[in-house]
C-alpha cells in the first residue's frame, strides 16, 4: 500500500532513496513500507505527529537502526559505516552540561574528525575550514563559548556547522525547530534555505509542525501510523490523501495560510499537525524554557 509517490527523477540521480523500508520494534510496526526520494539540492520536510516514526526513519537512513525490510540508498549506494561522511546529522535538542570543556568551535571541528583516533594536531587547513563554517552559520559571536552555555538557536547553528563541515551530500535534522521561539526558529529556517544552495546539499528536516517550513519546503514526506505519503505540499496535504494514510477521516483547514490537519474518530476530533504551542505568539523568552516543551 503506497500512497502518493512522486519522485523528481530516476533513482540513480537521487541523493536519497528510501525504498520500502519497514521497521518492527518489540512487536510494533514502527515503519511500514516507507518509500520516497530526495533529489539534489532539495529541501524536504518529514512531517508527522509525535511518535509517528520520524526519528526511527532518520536513524534508519543513518544506518543506526536495523530494518525488517526495504533498503536505503544514499547517492546511489547502500548506507554503511564507511559511507557515513555522505550524511550530516543534527540530533534532537540535547541538554548539554556547561562543564563539558567543548567550545562551539571545537564541536564544529569534531564534525571533521571526531571519529579519528589520537590527539588532534594543530593544522592550518583544519582551522580555516572551521572558521569558514562558523561564518557560514553566522556563529562568530559565540564561537568561543562552551556548547553548554549556548541558547537553543545558537546550539542548532553550531550543530548544523558540525554536520556540514565534512561536506555531506545529505543533511538530516531531527526536530530542529522544537523548543525554539519564533525568531530563533525563523533564523534557523532561513539559514537552512540559504545553506541548501550555498553548500549544494539536500536537506531532510523532521518536524511535528509544518507551517514554519511551508515557505522553504520543496516537498513533504508525511508520516502517519508508520506509513508515508510524499510529494509537493499541494499533492500531500489533502483530505483524500491523508484520510487514506491515517485510515480515518481527516480534514485539512487553511487558516490564513496556516495548515491544520484535523482527525475525526469516534465523534471526537483532534488537531494532529499544525498546533504548535512552542511558536505561540507572545512567547519571546529564552528558547530553553521547559514551559514550552511538549
Amino acid at each position: 500500500m503506497t500512497p502518493t509517490e512522486v519522485t523528481s527523477g530516476p533513482v540513480d540521480s537521487q541523493i536519497l532513496t528510501v525504498d520500502g523500508v519497514s521497521v518492527r520494534l518489540g512487536g510494533r510496526q514502527i515503519l511500514d513500507e516507507v518509500r520516497f526520494s530526495i533529489g539534489p539540492g532539495e529541501l524536504v520536510g518529514l512531517i508527522g505527529a509525535n511518535g509517528a516514526g520520524k526519528t526511527t526513519l532518520l536513524r534508519v537512513i543513518l544506518g543506526l537502526q536495523a530494518t525488517s525490510g526495504g533498503r536505503v540508498l544514499v547517492n546511489g549506494t547502500p548506507v554503511s559505516a564507511g559511507r557515513r561522511g555522505l550524511i550530516g546529522y543534527v540530533p534532537q535538542k540535547i541538554q548539554l552540561d556547561p562543564d563539558i570543556p567543548v567550545r562551539a568551535r571545537d564541536l564544529v571541528g569534531l564534525g571533521l574528525d571526531g571519529n579519528r583516533l589520537g590527539i588532534p594536531l594543530p593544522s592550518r587547513r583544519r582551522r580555516l575550514l572551521v572558521e569558514e563554517m562558523i561564518d557560514a552559520v553566522d556563529a562568530r559571536a559565540f564561537a568561543n563559548q562552551r556548547v553548554g552555555n549556548l541558547s537553543g538557536g545558537e546550539q542548532q547553528r553550531i550543530m548544523i556547522a558540525h554536520a556540514l563541515i565534512s561536506q555531506p551530500r545529505l543533511l538530516l535534522l531531527d526536530e530542529p525547530l522544537a523548543n525554539l521561539d519564533i525568531r530563533a526558529s525563523n533564523e534557523v529556517i532561513a539559514l537552512l534555505a540559504r545553506i541548501t544552495t550555498e553548500q549544494q546539499v539536500s536537506v531532510l528536516i523532521s518536524a511535528h509542525e509544518m507551517n514554519p517550513l511551508l515557505p522553504v519546503m520543496d516537498r513533504v514526506v508525511y508520516l502517519a501510523g508508520g506509513r508515508a505519503a510524499s510529494g509537493t505540499t499541494d499533492e500531500v496535504i489533502r483530505e483524500d490523501v491523508l484520510s487514506k494514510l491515517y485510515g480515518y477521516h481527516i480534514d485539512v483547514l487553511n487558516v490564513h495560510g496556516r495548515l491544520l490537519v484535523i482527525g475525526h474518530a469516534d465523534d471526537r476530533f483532534e488537531i494532529l499537525v499544525g498546533d504548535e504551542s512552542a511558536a505561540a505568539p507572545g512567547h519571546a523568552g529564552h528558547s530553553d524554557s521547559a514551559a514550552v516543551q511538549k
Binding site: L62, L64, A81, R84, I87, Y89, P91, I94, L96, D97, P98, D99, I100, P101, V102, R103, D106, L107, L110, G111, D113, G114, N115, R116, L117, G118, I119, P120, N144, Q145, R146, V147, N149, M159, H162
Partner: protein, 288 residues
C-alpha cells in the same frame, strides 16, 4: 628553606618512591578524571573505588601487591557494569549500585580475614587510606605498567570520547563505536582509580580522580587545556602533600607524622574552594 624542606627530604628513599608513584598516579588521574567528570561518570568512579577495596584486601590475603587487586577488581567491575547494561542514566546508576553493594560485602569479609591473620589493622589502613612512605621502589615498574594503558586509552580515544560526551547520537552518526569507547573509558577509570588507591588509599581515591578534574573544568575552556591543567593540579597537590607529610614528623601531637593522604585531599579541597569564584568570573567574562 629549612622550614619548608625539612633536612633529609631530598635524600630519603621512601620520599623518592612516594614522589615518583604519587606523581605518576596523579598525572593519570588528572587525564582520566577530566573525561570521568565531563562524561558524568563520577558515580561509576566512586563505585570502582569501593570495589577496589575488595581487590586490595584480597591481594593482601594472597600476599601480592595490592595494585594487582585494585586494578584487577576494577577492570572486572567495569566489564560487569557495562554488561549489566546501561541505556539510560537511571539504569546505569542502578547497575553500578548493585555491583558496588556486592563488592563491598566481599571487602568486609576479606578485611576481617586480613585483620585476623596479621593481628593488626595495618592492612586495612593501607588499603583504605594508603601509606605512601611504605611502598617499596620495586612497585615503580608495576605502577608505570598500569599507567601507560590508561593514558593510551584516553590519548587514542580523545576525540571520540569528547564527541560522545556531547551526544552519543552525534558520535554514533559520525561512525564512533560509542559503546566500545565507553567501555574502554571505564577501563581507564578503573586503572586510574587503582593507581590513586595506591597513593591515597581506596576510600580517598576518587578525590584524586575527580577533584583536580573538577577544578580544571571550571577554570579552563578547551578540552586540551582542561586535561593538562587537571594533571598539573593533581601532581602539584600530591608532591606538596608528600612534602608536608614529611615535615609533619616534627609536628604535634605525637611527632611521628600525619598521613600523606590527608594532606593531598585537603590541598585538593582548598584548591577547589579557591577555584569556584575564578570559574564564575570566567563564565561571566565569556557571557558578557
Amino acid at each position: 628553606m629549612r622550614w619548608l624542606f625539612y633536612p633529609g627530604f631530598f635524600s630519603s628513599s621512601p620520599v623518592h618512591v612516594a614522589l615518583v608513584i604519587g606523581g605518576i598516579s596523579a598525572l593519570v588521574c588528572g587525564v582520566v578524571g577530566t573525561f570521568t567528570v565531563q562524561r558524568g561518570q563520577s558515580y561509576a568512579g566512586h563505585a570502582l573505588a569501593d570495589l577496589s577495596v575488595t581487590g586490595g584486601s584480597a591481594s593482601f590475603l594472597a600476599s601480592i601487591s595490592p595494585l594487582w587487586g585494585f586494578a584487577g577488581m576494577g577492570v572486572l567491575a567495569a566489564g560487569t557494569m557495562d554488561m549489566i547494561g546501561v541505556r539510560n542514566q537511571r539504569g546505569r546508576d542502578l547497575a553500578t549500585g548493585i555491583v558496588r553493594g556486592a563488592g563491598l560485602g566481599l571487602a568486609a569479609l576479606f578485611l576481617y580475614w586480613d585483620t585476623q591473620r596479621s593481628s593488626t589493622t595495618g592492612a586495612s589502613i593501607t588499603i583504605l587510606f594508603g601509606s605512601m612512605f611504605t611502598i617499596g621502589n620495586g612497585s615503580i615498574p608495576l605502577v608505570a605498567a598500569f599507567a601507560v594503558p590508561a593514558l593510551l586509552i584516553i590519548g587514542l580515544l580523545f576525540r571520540p570520547l569528547l564527541l560522545s560526551s556531547v551526544s552519543a547520537d552525534l558520535a554514533a552518526a559520525r561512525g564512533v563505536r560509542v559503546r566500545l569507547a565507553g567501555l574502554a573509558c571505564l577501563v581507564a577509570i578503573a586503572l586510574a582509580v587503582s593507581l590513586a588507591a595506591m597513593t591515597v588509599g581506596a576510600i580517598l581515591s576518587t578525590a584524586l580522580l575527580v577533584g583536580p578534574a573538577a577544578i580544571a573544568l571550571k577554570v579552563t575552556s578547551t578540552p586540551g587545556s582542561a586535561t593538562i591543567t587537571a594533571a598539573a593540579i593533581g601532581v602539584a597537590a600530591t608532591w606538596l602533600g608528600v612534602l608536608l607529610a614529611y615535615d609533619s614528623f616534627t609536628w604535634p601531637p605525637s611527632h611521628d607524622g600525619w598521613p600523606v593522604s590527608f594532606f593531598i585531599v585537603a590541598l585538593i579541597f582548598v584548591a577547589f574552594l579557591v577555584a569556584q569564584p575564578i570559574g564564575r568570573r570566567r563564565i561571566r567574562q565569556v557571557e558578557g
